[in-house]
C-alpha cells in the first residue's frame, strides 16, 4: 500500500510539472474503460434530470444537459453535488418519475468510479491551515503535560465552530483578547503546577441546582454507598495549608428558611473518602408562617477549618440516611420542579419528611500556606533537584527540555534550549530556582509551538504538489484526533525515530490509543457535536408542561447516551448499531421515564428494551429533547436533525418572513402538532421544503418533547406515519427505523465524512470524496466497526498527506 502510494505521488509530481495544472488532468484511458457506463449515465440524466436542470430552466443553477460526460473528473465538484442528491434520494424529487434502485445504484457507482480512479492517479489531500488548539485540546494537553486537571471552559473563551465542529483550523483564530487569556491561563497553570506561594487565598464556590434536582439518592459514585443527597466535587488544592470548607443549605423561597429542619439531620463531610466531620443538626419546631433567624441561618455553623495537603482531592458532602430503605424504595417524593416542593415547609406522611439539600459548597484558602513538596504535577516536572547553585542550570535544562519536547511535540534543537534557559534565568533573578522554572514553563505554554499545530512543506516543494507528512506531524494528527491532546512519550519516540509509518506500527499505535482512557475525549467531542448533544446542557423544557423534567433526568439522559456510545466504541460495534441496538443504559429514574419495569436505584446498567418502541439512538431522551422546543415537539427540527446528522443531506433553509407556527395556547380546541403543521404547510412557500422535512420528523411523534412515549397528542391519537426522502412510506417508528436502514450507504458515507471533518480539522471537500468512498469500501468487511473506520481514516490520503498550495 505504502509503495503504491509512493508511485502515485511520483506520478503526480511528474504529471503536475508536465501539465502545469493539477486538478484538471483527465486521463483518457480511465474514461475509455467506462464507455458503456457513460452512455447509461447519459440516458439516465436525460430521462430523470434534464427536464429541470437544463440550459433554459437552470433549476438550482444546475445545467446538466450540455455537460460532457467525458470530462467528469474535470467537473468533479459539480458531480459530487449531483451524487450527494442521488445517494440520499433527495433527487429526483417526489412527484417526478424516479429510477428504480438498481438503475440508480449503477449510475452512482459508475460516476463514482470514474472520479475515484482519477483520484488514485492524482490524489488531492487538501491542506488544513495552521491549527490552534481549541480549549478542550488545550486543557487535555495541560493534563498530559503537567498532570494537572484544569477546566478549559473557565480559563479560555469558547471557540468558534465550523462545519459542525469546534476544532476547525480555519475558524480557530487569534485575537488580542484571546492572547490575554492565554497569558493569564499560562500564569495560573504554572503557579498551580509548581505550587507558587503567590497563589494567595481564594474562595471557590460550587453551587448545586435548586428546584430542579432532588437530593435524595446517592448522587455520585464518589459518595459513600447508602448516602443521601449532597454532592462530590473534584477540587484542586493549590498549596499545603489550612482551608475553610463551608456548607450552605437550601432554603425555601418564601421565608428563606433552611429546608428539612422538621427532623434531625446528620451531615457528613469527607475528603478523598475520609470523614472530616459529621455535623449534627437538631430538629426545629415547624412553625410555618414565622420567619425565625435560627431557621433562616440554621446552616451558620456548618464549616470546618482543616489542614489539607496540595493536590487534586474529592470533597464530598452528604446526608446520613435517617431510615434504611432499599435505595429508591422510600416514601414517594414531590418532584423537585413542583410548586409543592418549592413552597412546602411542612412534611406529611405521603411525601415523607422534607428533604434537606446542599445549596453551595465553598472552599476558601489556603491560610498559612506552605510550598507543597509532593503533588502529581511536581513529580512530573521536577525530574531533578539541584543541591547547589552550580547544579541549577544543568537541572533546569533537563527539566525544561523534557517539558518542551512534549509541549512542542518534537525533539528540541539548540535554539530552543538557549531560549528556554534565557527564560529560566529571567525568572531566577526575581526569586529562586523554582521561580525560574515557573517562568520558563509559562513561556512554553504561550509559545506558538505549543498553541499551534504547524505542518511544513518540504523545502523546495513545488506549488500544487502533494507530499507525505513527517512522522512527527502524523503523530500530532493522530493524538489530536483520538485524544484531543498531545502525543505521549511512546508515540513521540516512535515518530522521532521515524518508524510510525510502518503499517504494522501505525495500526498498533492506533489500537493502543483507542484502548487508552484518553480516547474518551474523542467519544465526547465527536459525538456531542455531531449529534447536537452539547445542547442538552442548556435545553430548558417548559416546567409547566414537563414537570418531570429536572436535573436528574437531564443528567440521566446524558449518561445514557454517553454509556451507550462508549459501549459501541469499546466493543467495536458496527456503525449501524447506533440505529438498531435493542439495548440501552438506564437507572431507575430513566427506566420510569421510559416505562421499563424492575429497575431500581441510581446506578446505570445495561438493559434490553422490552418492546420495539425504542431502538438505538433514536429512542434516547437526550436526542429527542435537543430536537424539541421547550414546550412541544418539533417535527421540523427532528426532520432536519435526521436529514442533516444522519443522512448528510441538510435541508434548504427557511425563506424569510415565515408565517408563524400556530401554538395551542389559549385556544378552545386543542389541535395536535401534526394538524397545526398540515395547516402551516398549506402555504405554498413552505410546502416545497417541508414536504421533505416534516414527513420525516413525524416518525418520532410518538415521543414527546422530553422523549416520553405517548399515544395521544392533544387528546388525538398520535399519527407517526410519514415519508422518507426517497418516497418510502411508513406508519410507525419501528417501520421507519427499518426503512431508514435502506439508506445505509448514505448514512455510512455521512458518518465517515463527519469523522473525517473532525479528524482533519477542516471541511470535507469534493476532492475528499474518493477518500471517503475508499474508507467506506475498506471497512465494509468489518461491518464498518469503529476501529476499522478510524484506522481507514488514519490511512487515508487526506490524513497522511498534504498539498503545497498553488500560489
Amino acid at each position: 500500500m505504502r509503495n503504491l502510494l509512493q508511485i502515485f505521488i511520483l506520478f503526480c509530481l511528474v504529471t503536475t510539472v508536465a501539465n502545469e495544472s493539477n486538478a484538471q488532468v483527465t486521463p483518457e484511458n480511465i474514461v475509455a474503460t467506462h464507455g458503456s457506463g457513460l452512455s447509461a449515465t447519459r440516458s439516465f440524466i436525460d430521462s430523470y434530470c434534464v427536464s429541470c436542470h437544463n440550459g433554459r430552466l437552470k433549476t438550482a443553477g444546475l445545467v446538466l444537459d450540455k455537460l460532457d460526460l467525458k470530462h467528469v473528473t474535470g467537473e468533479a465538484e459539480l458531480w459530487e453535488k449531483v451524487l450527494r442528491k442521488l445517494r440520499t434520494r433527495m433527487m429526483p424529487p417526489a412527484g417526478r418519475p424516479r429510477p428504480n434502485a438498481d438503475t440508480l445504484a449503477n449510475v452512482v457507482t459508475s460516476l463514482e468510479s470514474v472520479i475515484d480512479r482519477a483520484a488514485i492517479s492524482l490524489p488531492d489531500p487538501g491542506r488544513p491551515a495552521v491549527h490552534r488548539l481549541n480549549r478542550f485540546e488545550y486543557s487535555n494537553a495541560i493534563r498530559d503535560l503537567l498532570a494537572l486537571e484544569v477546566d478549559g471552559r473557565s480559563l479560555l473563551p469558547a471557540d468558534d465552530a465550523g462545519y459542525g465542529f469546534d476544532n476547525i483550523a480555519d475558524v480557530l483564530s487569534v485575537s488580542p483578547g484571546l492572547m490575554e487569556r492565554y497569558l493569564a491561563a499560562a500564569e495560573k497553570i504554572a503557579r498551580l503546577a509548581i505550587g507558587d506561594l503567590a497563589i494567595g487565598t481564594t474562595a471557590e464556590t460550587y453551587k448545586l441546582p435548586y428546584l430542579s434536582l432532588l437530593q435524595e439518592d446517592r448522587m455520585s459514585d464518589d459518595l459513600p454507598a447508602g448516602s443521601q443527597g449532597g454532592t462530590a466535587i473534584r477540587h484542586y488544592f493549590p498549596l499545603d495549608g489550612n482551608y475553610l470548607i463551608k456548607i450552605r443549605l437550601q432554603t425555601e423561597p418564601q421565608f428563606s428558611k433552611v429546608r428539612g429542619l422538621d427532623h434531625p439531620q446528620q451531615i457528613d463531610l469527607r475528603i478523598d473518602g475520609e470523614r472530616v466531620k459529621l455535623f449534627a443538626m437538631e430538629a426545629q419546631a415547624a412553625d410555618n408562617y414565622m420567619m425565625k433567624t435560627e431557621q433562616v441561618r440554621a446552616d451558620n455553623g456548618l464549616e470546618v477549618r482543616i489542614p489539607i495537603k496540595a493536590g487534586p482531592r474529592v470533597v464530598a458532602v452528604t446526608f446520613l440516611r435517617q431510615k434504611w430503605y432499599m435505595e429508591s424504595l422510600g416514601p414517594e417524593r414531590l418532584p423537585a420542579t413542583s410548586f409543592g416542593f418549592a413552597s412546602g415547609t411542612r412534611s406529611d406522611e405521603r411525601h415523607g419528611k422534607q428533604l434537606m439539600g446542599v445549596d453551595t459548597l465553598t472552599i476558601e484558602g489556603p491560610f498559612n500556606p506552605q510550598a507543597p513538596k509532593d503533588t502529581p504535577s511536581r513529580q512530573r516536572i521536577f525530574v531533578c533537584h539541584p543541591n547547589t547553585q552550580g547544579q541549577e542550570s544543568g537541572c533546569a535544562e533537563q527539566i525544561l527540555v523534557a517539558l518542551a519536547r512534549r509541549a512542542y511535540r518534537r525533539p528540541l534543537h539548540n535554539g530552543d534550549v538557549t531560549r528556554l534557559m534565557r527564560s529560566f534565568n529571567a525568572g531566577r533573578v526575581n526569586g529562586d530556582f523554582e521561580t525560574g522554572i515557573q517562568q520558563a514553563l509559562e513561556t512554553i505554554l504561550v509559545s506558538p509551538e505549543f498553541l499551534f499545530r504547524i505542518e511544513r512543506d518540504p523545502s523546495g516543494a513545488l506549488p500544487g504538489t502533494v507530499h507525505d507528512l513527517t512522522d512527527l506531524e502524523l503523530a500530532s494528527r493522530l493524538s489530536f484526533f483520538l485524544w484531543s491532546s498531545i502525543p505521549d512519550d511512546q508515540l513521540l519516540a516512535i515518530a522521532a525515530e521515524g518508524s510510525l509509518r510502518n503499517a504494522k506500527t501505525l495500526e498498533q499505535q492506533v489500537q493502543r490509543m483507542l484502548q487508552d482512557p484518553k480516547s474518551k475525549a474523542f467519544i465526547q467531542n465527536f459525538f456531542d457535536q455531531w449529534l447536537w448533544l452539547r445542547n442538552l446542557a442548556t435545553a430548558r423544557p417548559d416546567q409547566k408542561i414537563f414537570p418531570e423534567f429536572d436535573e436528574s433526568l437531564r443528567r440521566a439522559f446524558a449518561t445514557e447516551t454517553q454509556l451507550f456510545l462508549e459501549n459501541q466504541f469499546h466493543n467495536d460495534r458496527g456503525l449501524l448499531e447506533l440505529l438498531t441496538a435493542d439495548y440501552t443504559f438506564v437507572n431507575e429514574k430513566l427506566a420510569r421515564h421510559y416505562r421499563m419495569p424492575h429497575v431500581y436505584g441510581s446506578h446505570f446498567r445495561q438493559v434490553h428494551y422490552p418492546g420495539d418502541q425504542r431502538k438505538g439512538l433514536l429512542g434516547h431522551g437526550s436526542i429527542l429533547t435537543v430536537t424539541s422546543y421547550p414546550n412541544r415537539t418539533s417535527p421540523v427540527v427532528r426532520g432536519k436533525w435526521l436529514l442533516e446528522t444522519l443522512l448528510g443531506a441538510p435541508p434548504p433553509a427557511p425563506p424569510p418572513n415565515v408565517p408563524p407556527f400556530p401554538e395551542n395556547e389559549g385556544q378552545i380546541q386543542q389541535r395536535s402538532v401534526r394538524e397545526r403543521m398540515e395547516q402551516h404547510r398549506k402555504n405554498p412557500a413552505c410546502a416545497g421544503c417541508h414536504a421533505q422535512l416534516d414527513p420525516l420528523g413525524f416518525a418520532l411523534e410518538n415521543f414527546n418533547g422530553i422523549g416520553e412515549w405517548r399515544n395521544t397528542d392533544a387528546n388525538m391519537p398520535v399519527d407517526a406515519s410519514g415519508v422518507l426522502p426517497g418516497g418510502e412510506k411508513f406508519d410507525d417508528p419501528a417501520q421507519f427505523r427499518s426503512m431508514l436502514l435502506s439508506y445505509r450507504s448514505a448514512f455510512v458515507s455521512n458518518v465517515v465524512q463527519k469523522l473525517l471533518t473532525y479528524a482533519l480539522g477542516r471541511g470535507v471537500e469534493y476532492y475528499d470524496m474518493p477518500a471517503v468512498r475508499q474508507i467506506v469500501r475498506e471497512t465494509e468487511r468489518q461491518n464498518h466497526s469503529w476501529s476499522s473506520i478510524i484506522l481507514a481514516i488514519v490511512r487515508s490520503v487526506p490524513f497522511q498527506m498534504r498539498k503545497v498550495p498553488v500560489l
Partner: protein
C-alpha cells in the same frame, strides 16, 4: 463579588456626604473606586452598546407622537429617571439585513452594528464589516488597558443553533474588529473579571509592575520564536502566525499603558464565583463589571448582548415561561404581546439600574454617566414578520455630548448607520461613511 474590609471606613465617610447608592452586588466597592483621580483636562468619553435580541413590541416601545417625551412608553418606563437624557429614534432601518434569502436572524444581528450585509457562508470565509463600537475602541483603546469588552448573557458555543447558510460567527457577537474578525462575547462574569483585573490578587503598584515586566519578558521570547517559525512555512500559514504576532503586539501596547498607570489605585474586589442562575442577577453582575471597567478606566467601550438572535431563553422569574424566540413570533396575540412586553421591560430594568449606578459615581466634573454615551436597540422591530425597518432605537447621552434629550425623533427611510456615524461624531470620531450610511442624523443636538 465581595469587597475586602479595607474600604469600609471610606464607605462610611462617603455615606456622610450622601453618595451611597444601591449597588446590590458591588455594595461597598464604590468608595474604593472613587479614589481614582482624573487629572486630564479633557474629560474621558465612553461608549456602551446594548443589544436586545429577537425584536421589540413596537406598540409598547414607540411613543405615539413625535417631539417631547411626555409619558414614556411601557418598555422604557424603567428609564424614567433619565428621561431628559434619552432620545427615542424611529424610522431607522437596517436595509442590509433585508434580502430575499434565508437566514434572516443571522443578517439581522450581523448588520445591526455594522450596516453591512454578511457574506453568506458557513465556512471560514466570513466577511462583514467593522462594528461601530470598534471604531471607538480603536481610538479610545490607545489610552486604556483594554480597547473594549464584549459581554453576553448566553454561551456562544452551541452547535446546530446557527443558521443554515450563515456561520455561527454572525449569530455569536455584535462586535467586529474588522470585516473578518468577530470578537467573542464573554458570558462568564469571572472570565470578564479576570480580563479586567488580571490573575494577580494583589493590586499594589509594586506587584503589578513586577507582573508587567514578567509578561513583557515572556512576550519577547515568544515573539522571537514566531519570527523563527515564519521562515519556511506557506504564505497562508504565515498570515495566521501574523495574526498571533499582531495579538502579541496589542498585548504589549496595553502593557505599556498598564505600566504607565501602575501607580493608580484599583479596587480590591473579589472575583465572582460563577454564573448566576437568573437573568436578573447575571445581567446585573455583568453590568456591574462594566461599571467597574469604566470607573477604573480599564476600558471605555463595551458591547453587551442581552440575548442572541434566536435565543430560546425563558424568564421564569417574571412568569414568562415561554421561550423567547417562539414567543417573538407572537401573531399579534394580545397575551403573547403582553408577555413579550414584560420580558423586554425586564431587560430594560437591568439597563436602567446600570445607568443609576453610573450616575452615582463621581467622575471629573460630573458623574460617569455624564461622560458616557449609550445605544440600546434591536435589529428588528416587528419580530413576528422579521421586519428590519423602523427599528427600536434608544440613545442615552451624558451631558458631555450636547445632545438634547427627552424627545422622540422620527426619521424615515434613513439607514441606522447614519445614527452610528452621528454617534461617532459625538464621541469626537469623525469618519466619512459607516456601513450603508448616506448622511448624518439631524436634530440630535437640536436647540
Amino acid at each position: 463579588m465581595i469587597i475586602t474590609k479595607k474600604c469600609l471606613s471610606r464607605r462610611t465617610a462617603l455615606r456622610g456626604i450622601g453618595a451611597t447608592i444601591a449597588l446590590p452586588l458591588l455594595d461597598g466597592m464604590v468608595p474604593a473606586l472613587t479614589a481614582l483621580q482624573r487629572t486630564a483636562a479633557k474629560p474621558v468619553r465612553r461608549l456602551g452598546v446594548v443589544y436586545a435580541a429577537n425584536g421589540m413590541v413596537m406598540d409598547a416601545w414607540q411613543p405615539a407622537t413625535e417631539g417631547p417625551l411626555e409619558q414614556l412608553p411601557p418598555i422604557q418606563q424603567p428609564l424614567a429617571p433619565f428621561k431628559d437624557r434619552m432620545l427615542i429614534l424611529s424610522g431607522l432601518d437596517s436595509k442590509e439585513a433585508d434580502a430575499k434569502d434565508t437566514g434572516v436572524h443571522a443578517r439581522i444581528q450581523a448588520a445591526w452594528l455594522t450596516g453591512v450585509r454578511p457574506k453568506r457562508t458557513e465556512g471560514p470565509d466570513i466577511r462583514l464589516g467593522v462594528s461601530m463600537d470598534q471604531i471607538a475602541a480603536r481610538e479610545f483603546g490607545k489610552e486604556t488597558q483594554l480597547a473594549s469588552i464584549e459581554l453576553a448573557m448566553e454561551p456562544t458555543d452551541l452547535v446546530g443553533a446557527c443558521l443554515p447558510g450563515y456561520s455561527c460567527a454572525y449569530n455569536n457577537t455584535v462586535a467586529w474588529r474588522d470585516a473578518t474578525t468577530p470578537l467573542p462575547m464573554e458570558f462568564d462574569p469571572r472570565a470578564v473579571f479576570e480580563r479586567l483585573f488580571g490573575t494577580t490578587r494583589s493590586t499594589s503598584p509594586r506587584d503589578r509592575l513586577r507582573y508587567i515586566q514578567k509578561r513583557r519578558s515572556i512576550l519577547d521570547d515568544v515573539t522571537e520564536q514566531v519570527h523563527d517559525l515564519q521562515r519556511g512555512i506557506g504564505s497562508g500559514d504565515r498570515a495566521k502566525l501574523g495574526q498571533y504576532l499582531e495579538a502579541i503586539r496589542d498585548v504589549e501596547r496595553r502593557l505599556d499603558r498598564a505600566e504607565a498607570q501602575a501607580d493608580q489605585e484599583l479596587p480590591d474586589v473579589e472575583r465572582p464565583a460563577g454564573i448566576p442562575a437568573t437573568f436578573d442577577e447575571h445581567a446585573r453582575l455583568l453590568f456591574d463589571l462594566a461599571v467597574l471597567a469604566f470607573q477604573a478606566d480599564l476600558t471605555r467601550v463595551f458591547t453587551f448582548a442581552l440575548g442572541r438572535e434566536l435565543s430560546i431563553r425563558t424568564f421564569p422569574e417574571i412568569g414568562v415561561n415561554d421561550s423567547h424566540h417562539p414567543l417573538s413570533h407572537h401573531q399579534n396575540d394580545p397575551e403573547k404581546l403582553a408577555k413579550l412586553t414584560k420580558l423586554q421591560t425586564f431587560q430594560m430594568t437591568a439597563f436602567a439600574s446600570f445607568l443609576e449606578k453610573l450616575h452615582a459615581i463621581p467622575d471629573g466634573d460630573g458623574t460617569l454617566l455624564d461622560h458616557s454615551l449609550f445605544l440600546y436597540g434591536a435589529g428588528m422591530s416587528n419580530s413576528n414578520l422579521h421586519y428590519m425597518y423602523d427599528l427600536p432605537t434608544l440613545v442615552v447621552a451624558g451631558r458631555e455630548f450636547g445632545i438634547r434629550g427627552g424627545r422622540h425623533l422620527v426619521y424615515g427611510d434613513t439607514p441606522l448607520a447614519n445614527l452610528h456615524l452621528t454617534l461617532l461624531d459625538k464621541l469626537g470620531l469623525q469618519i466619512e461613511r459607516f456601513g450603508d450610511s448616506n448622511g448624518r442624523l439631524e436634530l440630535l443636538a437640536d436647540v
